[in-house]
C-alpha cells in the first residue's frame, strides 16, 4: 500500500515536474522563448484546427485582386478586372498594329470605367453571375500561374471590405467554396489589418480606394467609427481623362476636323479618353501640391514635444528649399497623346496636380455645394476625428494611416496632414461651423474677456475696500472651483509613475502620419502568426445553409461576450459573420 502511494506520489515529481520547471519562465532572467507545440499536442476539440500548411491570402478590391502566400510582405500577383483581362483565349488584337490608334468611343461620365470594376456596391443592374465568373477567372489565373498550388485543402484568408451587400458577399464566398474545394475561409477587414501592419493598436485609417475613400477610426484593433466619401481614385482618373482630352484637342486641332473639336467641347458629359490611358498618366505623373503658403517643411514638426524621442518626426532633416513656388514654375511635360500614341502633347507640369486637387480636395467648391457623401478628404478626416471621443481622438490623430491606391500619389499625404492641421488650428475641435458659429465664438471670447476684466477690477476694488485683508486675498475671495489649481494626489501620482515605467510613452495629440504596408500584408502577417480570425466560415456549413446559417447574435455588440466564446466542438454550431453581417 505504502509502496503504491509512494509510486503515485513520485510519479508527477519525477516525470512532470522537471519538464514544467524548465518551461516555467524565470521572472528574473530574460524571457525564454516559448516552446511551440505541434498540432499533435493541441487539443483535438479545437474546432478550427490550424492546418500545417499556411493559408493563401486573397484580397478583393473593386479593381484588383491580390493573392499570395501567408508570411510574405507583398502579394505574388495583382490582377485586374478590366476588359483586357476578360478577353477570350486567342484574342490577340491588343498586339495588332494600329490597335492603339483605334477610334475610341466616347463614354458617358457616369458609366465611365465601369467595365474595369469587379463589382459595384450598388447592386441594381449588377450581374452576380458575371461577378462570380470574374472572380473565378482571376483566382484560377492566380493559382495556376502565380501560386502553383492545389487549392484543395488550402484554407483561405480573404480580405474584404466589411460594408458589403449580402448578395455580393454570398457570390464571393459561394464562388470560392463551390468552384475551388477549399475547406474554410477567414474573412478579415482591411482597416484593422492596415493598422496592424503599421505596427499600431489604434489609428485613423484613410483608405483612398477606387470608388470610395473610407476613413475608419480604429481603437485597440476595433473599428469605432467609419466615414466615407465618393472622392476617390475613380474621380481623380476621370479628371485626368478630362485634362488629357482638353489638352489633346487643343494641341491637335489642326489634325482633327474642326467640326469634331467643336462638338467635343460642347459635350461635357462624354469622355473619349480610355480609363487605361488616364490611369497610366495618373500613376505616372499625378502629384499634389503642398498647402498654399506653407513650405513643405511643415511647421507642425517643430511644435512636436521633444520627449517623443526615437519616434519623433524628423526635426533636423535637411530640406533644401523645396518650396511650393519652386513647383509652380511650369515645365511642359511631353506625354504621348491619348488619341494616337505616336504624337506627343505638352502639358504643363502643374496641370498634373489639378485632377488630384479638384477630385480629392475639392478645392474649387464651397462648403454648401458639398453633399454628405462627397466631402473632401481633409474635411472627412477632420470630421471623423471630431466624431471620436476625445481620448480616442488624441490617439488617432497622431496615427493617421494612409493606404489604398491613392496614397501613392506623391505629396498627397503631406498635403492632407497639413490641411487637417490647418483645420484644427482654425477651428479647434468644434463641430459647429459657419458664420453664426464664428460670430458666437467671437462673442464668447468677448464675454470671457469682459469677465476677466471685471474680475480683475473686482479684485482691485476688493483690495481697495478692505485694505486690512489685503495680505491674504486668496483666503478671502474663494476662487471658483473650475479655476482652482488641481489638488495633487500623491497616490495617483505614484500610480502614474509606475504606469509610465511599464509602458513607453505614446505619441498623442499631434497630427502625424504612419506608413503601413497595406491590408494584404496585414492579413499575411496575421496568418503567419497563426492568429485566428473571428469570421471563420467552414465549407460544409456554408454550402448547407448559405449566409443564413451565420449566427446573428454576435453582430450587435462589439464588446466581448465571454459566455458564448467557447470554441464549438466539431465545428457543428454557429459561425458568425461578424462585421459582415
Amino acid at each position: 500500500m505504502a509502496t503504491a502511494a509512494g509510486y503515485f506520489d513520485r510519479k508527477p515529481s519525477s516525470a512532470t515536474r522537471p519538464r514544467l520547471s524548465h518551461l516555467q519562465p524565470d521572472p528574473s532572467s530574460p524571457h525564454t522563448p516559448q516552446r511551440t507545440f505541434s498540432s499533435a499536442f493541441n487539443s483535438p476539440s479545437l474546432s478550427f484546427r490550424i492546418s500545417e500548411e499556411e493559408p493563401l491570402i486573397f484580397e478583393f478590391g473593386t479593381r484588383h485582386f491580390s493573392a499570395g502566400y501567408a508570411g510574405e510582405s507583398a502579394p505574388r500577383c495583382r490582377l485586374g478586372f478590366g476588359p483586357e483581362e476578360s478577353r477570350r483565349v486567342g484574342d490577340y488584337r491588343k498586339w495588332m498594329p494600329g490597335y492603339a490608334e483605334r477610334k475610341r468611343k466616347r463614354r458617358r461620365v457616369d458609366i465611365w470605367g465601369d467595365d474595369h470594376e469587379l463589382w459595384r456596391m450598388d447592386l441594381r443592374g449588377l450581374d452576380m453571375g458575371l461577378v462570380g465568373d470574374k472572380i473565378e477567372r482571376a483566382v484560377r489565373e492566380a493559382v495556376t500561374k502565380h501560386l502553383l498550388v492545389d487549392m484543395k485543402g488550402k484554407r483561405l484568408v480573404v480580405v474584404l471590405p466589411s460594408l458589403m451587400p449580402h448578395p455580393l458577399l454570398n457570390t464571393v464566398l459561394g464562388t470560392l467554396f463551390t468552384r475551388f474545394q477549399n475547406p474554410g475561409i477567414t474573412l478579415l477587414s482591411p482597416p484593422v489589418l492596415s493598422t496592424v501592419v503599421a505596427g499600431l493598436r489604434s489609428g485613423l485609417v484613410v483608405d483612398i480606394g477606387w470608388r470610395e475613400t473610407v476613413v475608419a477610426g480604429i481603437y485597440d484593433y476595433r473599428e469605432v467609427h467609419e466615414n466615407r466619401t465618393t472622392r476617390a481614385m475613380q474621380m481623380v482618373t476621370l479628371e485626368m481623362a478630362r485634362l488629357l482630352e482638353k489638352h489633346d484637342t487643343e494641341q491637335r486641332k489642326d489634325a482633327t476636323k474642326p467640326v469634331d473639336a467643336v462638338k467635343e467641347e460642347a459635350d461635357d458629359t462624354l469622355v473619349a479618353v480610355d480609363l487605361e490611358q488616364a490611369e497610366e498618366v495618373t500613376t505616372r505623373m499625378a502629384w499634389c501640391r503642398s498647402r498654399l503658403g506653407h513650405t513643405p517643411t511643415s511647421p507642425k514638426s517643430k511644435v512636436l514635444p521633444a520627449q517623443l524621442g526615437n519616434a519623433s518626426i524628423a526635426e533636423d532633416e535637411p530640406t533644401e528649399s523645396a518650396t511650393s513656388s519652386d513647383f509652380n514654375e511650369d515645365i511642359p511635360i511631353l506625354i504621348p497623346s491619348p488619341s494616337s500614341p505616336r504624337v506627343s502633347i505638352h502639358i504643363p507640369f502643374s496641370a498634373f496636380a489639378l485632377p488630384v486637387e479638384t477630385a480629392l480636395l475639392g478645392d474649387s467648391l464651397q462648403r454648401y455645394e458639398l453633399d454628405d457623401h462627397d466631402q473632401p478628404l481633409h474635411k472627412l478626416i477632420y470630421r471623423s476625428l471630431l466624431a471620436l471621443p476625445p481620448d480616442v481622438r488624441a490617439v488617432c490623430m497622431s496615427r493617421i494611416i494612409f493606404t489604398g491606391g491613392g496614397s501613392n500619389i506623391l505629396g498627397l499625404k503631406a498635403r492632407l496632414m497639413d490641411e487637417v492641421a490647418a483645420l484644427v488650428e482654425a477651428r479647434g475641435w468644434d463641430s459647429v461651423e459657419g458664420k453664426a458659429a464664428d460670430e458666437r465664438r467671437r462673442r464668447l471670447k468677448e464675454i470671457s474677456g469682459n469677465r476677466q476684466l471685471t474680475k480683475a477690477k473686482k479684485v482691485e476694488t476688493n483690495n481697495a475696500n478692505n485694505p486690512m485683508n489685503s495680505k491674504t486675498p486668496g483666503e478671502n475671495i474663494p476662487l471658483p472651483a473650475s479655476q482652482a489649481p488641481q489638488v495633487t494626489d500623491p497616490i495617483e501620482e505614484k500610480i502614474r509613475r509606475e504606469q509610465e515605467k511599464a509602458t513607453r510613452p505614446t505619441v498623442s495629440g499631434v497630427i502625424r502620419g504612419v506608413e503601413t504596408l497595406g491590408a494584404w500584408a496585414g492579413a499575411s502577417l496575421l496568418a503567419s502568426l497563426r492568429i485566428k480570425g473571428v469570421v471563420e466560415i467552414e465549407r460544409d456549413a456554408f454550402l448547407q445553409h448559405g449566409l443564413a446559417g451565420a449566427r446573428r447574435d454576435a453582430e450587435a455588440s462589439a464588446a466581448p461576450q465571454r459566455g458564448m466564446a467557447r470554441p464549438s466542438i466539431g465545428g457543428q454550431t454557429g459561425w458568425t459573420l461578424g462585421p459582415w453581417a
Partner: protein
C-alpha cells in the same frame, strides 16, 4: 521543381534567367571586361537586354560570378538598391527622419532596412515577441489546467474584441496588453511630410519617360514610380498541369511526368464527346438579286440564312435538340430562328462499316467541307423549309438558321458590339452501348440512355452598317 522551392521562391526561375524590367525581354549575361579576349570567361558581369539596351548597370549592379545569378540579385535586394556606392535613388522613398537618432546602429544599416520586406520582417518579429510576452504564463499552467490552445491567443483575443468573440480561456485579465511598435527597428515608419518633395522634383525634371508605366510596375514585386528603381525579375515558370473537373474533381487531363515529353497520360477532351459545330452562310441563289452574304458585314434588317452543321464524334446515333433565344442577347437584339431544332445525327462508325453496310448516306464525311458555297434554291432548287433537315451525312446533319440582324445605328460603337454571336443550347440524347465501353458484365446487349445538355456560342461575323449596306 519541388513544391518547397516553389513555396519559398515562387514559381519563378531560380537560376540565371531574368526578364528586362523595361520591355520584359530575357536578359543576357555579358561581361564588361575591358580585355576582349577575356570576355568569354571573366567578369565583371552584367545582365543586359538586347532590345532596349537596359542593363543592370543602371541599377549599379555588377556581378563577380556568372553562375547563380538569382542568389546574387537576391542579395542585392536585401542591400537596398546596391552595395556599390551610387547616389541612392530611393532616398525619397525612405522616411528619413524616422531613423532613431539615439540608436547606435549606423545609418547604413537602417537604410538597408528600409524596404517593405524589412519592415514586414521587423513587424513579424515584433508581434511574435509581443505575443509571447503578453502571454507570459506557460501554456501548461493556465488556470483552467488544460492547454491554452494556442500560443498567440492573446492577439486573437484582442482581434476578437472588435467583433465580439473571444477565444482564450480565463487568463485574459492577467496578461499585460500588447503595446504598439515604438521605433524604426520595430517596423514603425512615420510619414515624413518632406519625403515626397524629392520625388516630385525628380518627376518635374525627368518627366514622363523616366517614370515606370503601369505594366512595368505590375511586373515588380514592390511597385515603384521611377524607371531607375525597376529591378529585373526572374520569369515565371511554365508548368505542365493536370486538370480536374470543377464539379467532381475527376481527372480530365494529366500530362506525362517526364519533362521532355509532351504527351498526356489522361486526356479527356470535350471535343471527343460533343458534336462539332460549324456554321456557314447559305448564299441566296444567284438568280435572285440579293447580294451574297459577307460575314464581315452581314446585312441588317433582312433575313440571312446560315447552315449549321453538327458532326457527331460518338459511336452512337444521337438525337439533338437545339434551342436559342428568340433575340440574341446584347445591346442589339438580332432575331434568330433555327428552322429545324430537332434532328438526329448518325453514328461515327468506321468508314468501312459504312461502306460494307447499306450505304444509305450519299456523301462521305470527307466532303463535309466548308469551302463549298451552297446556294439556296441552287441546282436542286431547294429552299429552306421549317422543320426539315437541310442535309444529312454519315455522322453529320445540317440545318438552316435564319437570322435577322438589327440595325446598328450609332456611329460610335463599343468594341465588338457589332459582332453577331448566337447562343445555342444543345441537348443531346443517345443510347450508349455499354458493351463497347468495356462494361459488359452481363454480356448482353445493354444500352443505357444518356443525356447531355450545354450552352454554347456560335460566332458568326460582324453586322454591317445600315448605310453601308444600302449604298453597296
Amino acid at each position: 521543381m519541388p513544391l518547397s522551392v516553389i513555396k519559398s521562391e515562387g514559381p519563378r526561375c531560380s537560376r540565371n534567367c531574368f526578364n528586362c524590367p523595361i520591355c520584359t525581354a530575357p536578359l543576357a549575361t555579358s561581361s564588361l571586361n575591358p580585355d576582349p579576349e577575356k570576355r568569354a570567361v571573366s567578369g565583371p558581369w552584367v545582365l543586359s537586354c538586347g532590345f532596349c539596351n537596359w542593363s543592370t548597370l543602371e541599377l549599379g549592379w555588377q556581378f563577380e560570378n556568372k553562375k547563380n545569378m538569382h542568389q546574387q540579385v537576391a542579395k542585392l535586394r536585401n542591400g537596398g538598391q546596391s552595395r556599390f556606392a551610387r547616389t541612392p535613388p530611393t532616398d525619397f522613398a525612405k522616411s528619413g527622419g524616422s531613423e532613431p537618432p539615439s540608436e547606435t546602429e549606423t545609418p547604413f544599416v537602417s537604410e538597408l532596412d528600409d524596404t517593405p520586406d524589412a519592415a514586414f520582417a521587423s513587424f513579424r518579429s515584433f508581434y511574435s515577441s509581443q505575443l509571447s510576452a503578453s502571454n507570459p504564463a506557460d501554456p501548461l499552467l493556465t488556470p483552467s489546467g488544460g492547454f491554452n490552445y494556442s500560443s498567440p491567443s492573446s492577439l486573437a483575443r484582442i482581434m476578437s474584441l472588435y467583433t465580439g468573440r473571444s477565444f482564450g480561456k480565463k487568463d485574459t485579465g492577467k496578461s499585460s496588453l500588447m503595446r504598439e511598435t515604438s521605433d524604426f527597428s520595430e517596423g514603425l515608419r512615420i510619414v515624413d511630410p518632406t519625403c515626397d518633395d524629392e520625388a516630385i522634383r525628380k518627376l518635374r525634371t525627368e518627366g514622363w519617360t523616366r517614370t515606370a508605366s503601369v505594366a512595368q510596375q505590375a511586373g515588380q514585386h514592390h511597385a515603384s514610380n521611377f524607371v531607375a528603381n525597376l529591378r529585373p525579375m526572374p520569369p515565371l515558370l511554365r508548368t505542365k498541369r493536370s486538370k480536374r473537373c470543377r464539379a467532381c474533381r475527376h481527372l480530365l487531363v494529366k500530362p506525362e511526368q517526364k519533362v521532355q515529353s509532351t504527351r498526356f497520360r489522361i486526356r479527356l477532351v470535350a471535343l471527343n464527346y460533343i458534336p462539332t459545330i460549324s456554321f456557314k452562310p447559305l448564299q441566296p441563289s444567284p438568280s435572285t438579286e440579293l447580294p451574297p452574304i459577307d460575314l464581315k458585314a452581314i446585312p441588317p434588317l433582312r433575313p440571312s440564312q446560315f447552315l449549321l452543321t453538327l458532326k457527331n464524334p460518338l459511336f452512337d446515333v444521337v438525337k439533338v435538340t437545339l434551342a436559342t433565344p428568340v433575340q440574341a442577347p446584347g445591346r442589339y437584339s438580332h432575331k434568330v430562328t433555327i428552322l429545324c431544332p430537332e434532328f438526329e445525327i448518325g453514328s461515327n462508325v468506321d468508314q468501312w462499316d459504312e461502306a460494307l453496310g447499306d450505304g444509305k448516306s450519299q456523301r462521305s464525311s470527307k466532303f463535309l467541307g466548308l469551302s463549298k458555297v451552297e446556294y439556296a434554291g441552287g441546282e436542286s432548287g431547294r429552299v429552306a423549309e421549317a422543320g426539315k433537315v437541310w442535309e444529312k451525312g454519315r455522322n453529320w446533319t445540317t440545318v438552316v438558321v435564319e437570322v435577322v440582324c438589327a440595325a446598328i445605328t450609332e456611329n460610335e460603337s463599343e468594341e465588338d458590339e457589332d459582332v453577331l454571336e448566337i447562343p445555342v443550347f444543345v441537348r443531346m440524347e443517345w443510347e450508349a452501348d455499354l458493351e463497347r465501353e468495356g462494361k459488359d458484365e452481363a454480356k448482353t446487349e445493354r444500352k443505357e440512355k444518356r443525356e447531355l445538355a450545354y450552352w454554347t456560342v456560335v460566332g458568326v461575323g460582324r453586322v454591317g452598317k445600315l448605310g453601308a449596306a444600302s449604298t453597296s
